[in-house]
């Protein structure tokens, strides 16, 4: 059986969790992602930065009322990368 290579950027628990959350949403707030993953703000910031640098997600700093708010959105590139990651994963799991 041929195992397809897994995208190293997505093959990390926290980054994969962030991408999975965003794949199911149009956009999500940083605080929501932090709440759902249980990660620390610092660690999450670093991982989001990596995903953003790779062009997988788009980060927008905005305001919610008077409070600052960071919004994350998955990009078309991110969608493709996630799709390829799941396809590759299926070869490891022997799913047809």
């Amino acid at each position: 059986m041929n195992f397809k290579p897994l995208d190293p950027l997505l093959h990390s628990e926290l980054r994969l969790a962030v991408m999975s959350l965003l794949i199911a949403s149009e956009e999500a707030e940083f605080s929501y992602i932090k709440e759902q993953t249980g990660a620390t703000a610092g660690n999450l910031s670093v991982q989001i930065d990596k995903l953003s640098t790779a062009g997988y997600i788009q980060v927008e700093k905005t305001f919610k009322g008077k409070k600052p708010c960071t919004l994350c959105r998955i990009t078309a590139e991110g969608h493709t990368a996630f799709e390829n990651y799941v396809k590759a994963l299926r070869t490891y799991l022997r799913v047809k």
Binding site: H11, L14, A17, S20, A24, E35, Q36, A39, L89
Partner: protein, 228 residues
Amino acid sequence: METIENNELTAERSLEIITKQIEQSRKAVSKSTGQALYVAGLSMMAMSIVIAITNYLTKTPLGHLLWFLLPLVIIWAQKKNKEREHAPVSLIGSLVGKTWWTFATFTLVFFLITIIWNSVAARLYQPDAYMLLRIRVTPIIVLLMGMTVTITGHILRSRWLVVFGFIAGIGTCLWEWLGISEALFIRVAGQSLSELGLVRPILHCFTYLLFAFFGMALPGYLLKRQRL
């Protein structure tokens, strides 16, 4: 809460993370919709009580015009709520929102047309003919609302929300159409049919109150508590 670290992982663990996060996202949208339904239900219950009191004091059905304020009250309450919560914006959430906007727009237009038609018909026709020609607003509106709750349940894949919408919509439509409020009023208060005309505008409010509780506030509460 289980913390997700950024370390290496197996294929099985990857699949578990993807499934778990997508499911969590779906739950967050359901919870947020439940909160919105709960707030809208409570607002509608409060509004039906205010309108019943207005109708009682003015001895006319004019209080029903206050229903036009309900969307404003709901929008204000949802805005306050959105500032507090962090629910993600998703296609499912947008679909639910658009479904309710469509319902609200069509209902308000229908309500407006009915008010105009019923006012004209009351002036043009004799009371007997008017009773046949008038459009009965309440059963149609609760039926439309029940339909919207049911569609929301289908979008969210919440079987219980579908059931609540179905029962509340059809139940309160039949309740109003068959005149159960009137029958109960005559029986309990011992009033005659001739006195019913004065209390009818108040009894319509009771139908809306029933729907708001069983079709919106209760399922909304259960949904936001993730019990549906």
